[in-house]
Amino acid sequence: MTKPKVAFYWNASCGGCEEAVIDLAEDILKVVEAVDIVFWPVAMDFKKKDIKAMKDGEIAVSFINGAIRTEEQEEMVKLLRRKSGLVIAFGSCSHLGGIPGLANFWDRDTIFERVYKEIPSVINPDGVLPQTKTQIGDKQLTLPEFWDTVKTLDQVIDVDYYIPGCAPPPDIIMDGITAILEGKLPEKGAVLAPDKSLCDTCPRSEKKPDKISMKEIKRPHEIILDPEKCFLEQGIICLGPATRSGCGERCINANMPCRGCFGPTKEVIDHGAKGLSAIVSILGIEEEEKLSDEDVQKLIDQIKDPAGLFYMYSLPSSLLRRKIMRKGE
């Protein structure tokens, strides 16, 4: 029997998802035993033409990480979609947009201006910016088009399943791969992780008080964090209440609050909206009936960069998806 063919591909990502595959350690040998890896740019020397030469649907599963922000990425994922039976969005960036998705607070012009002109360590007196076509003598150099808006994988192609996380932890990856190999998959479109909130599985939840009330909002670098106490109780914003569990509480165990890389649970459309709704309702505001709108505003203004905080991993998958840009900003 021939082994099922598997492809890995990366888009706008940091490479952490590739590391996560390697982090399977000896388990990766089981994977390699069971499947044939036919495409993996970071580790193996197969080319686009090799994929093009395949029959449609010949690849059993493609694991695609990274958000989509260039023409080339769109072309590659569309090609992989055609050639694959299953497409798995692997990691936060392809699932929700991830950190690269925060670029949706800007657009191509403002990003290029900043990156190629304004940054203090950049010397670019002629103000040269990347072009899709550049003529040098009789040769033409080309670059893929860079878009204004970063997209999640499922905004570009049809996605069958999602493996969440930044980066996905080894047990979630192995459970996902095992489910695929054994054909024990849930209904299409499912996120291959538990459908519980992080607070449900948080090691600190046993000791947390019945009613949490955040009197003052602090940021993690401003206080010495108690490694036992619930972050919210300490006045630190933690997105645990609005975020899916399954990550192994890696951040919590490293004494850092949740920032939402697993995305929301199944029924939630907009992760950030749920996060802000949850956090703001546990603010310990006393005698609220006596407070004016301005007083409440002052208390809420303690939350720095709320859009960046609540949409840290999910901006492109949110309802609004990006900032509205206006000329002269």
């Binding site: 878009w147 808006t149 802000l276 809420i300 709320p306």
Partner: protein, 156 residues
Amino acid sequence: MKAKVDFEPKIVVFCCKWCSYTAADLAGTSRMEMLPNFTIIRTMCSGRIDPEFILNAFVKGADGVLITGCHPGDCHYVNGNYKARRRIILLQSVLKQFGFENGRLRYEWISAAEGKKFVDSVNEFIGNIKKLGPLCDVSKYLSEKKTNNVKSSITQ
């Protein structure tokens, strides 16, 4: 572009069953005249209004969203209106970061007896949104793919 005077905004008004919805009803039965640009969505309490509802309204074409609830101390569920106020104030800051002009999302306390205040608040809100002009068509720029096309539609 068409002059802004011709612009008829689409407004979503969220009303609490116990106070502002009754106020809207009172305005109707009292035959008070008001601008017709709005649609009411009734909830049991302004505290039920999930920020997701508000964002959804904007994504589906609302130019402005007005949240109305009971006066401080009057909430049928003790403190739902305070929760609503907090969420809206925070959401206003978030919307600003998303490039929304101030004033597209507002809230107002209106009791069941204040039919007149309901009319005035809604009229004033519609007037302000008319001055602001239409909200950039969120759905339009999302369907565009290439940079060049996207640019023209997301830049106002």
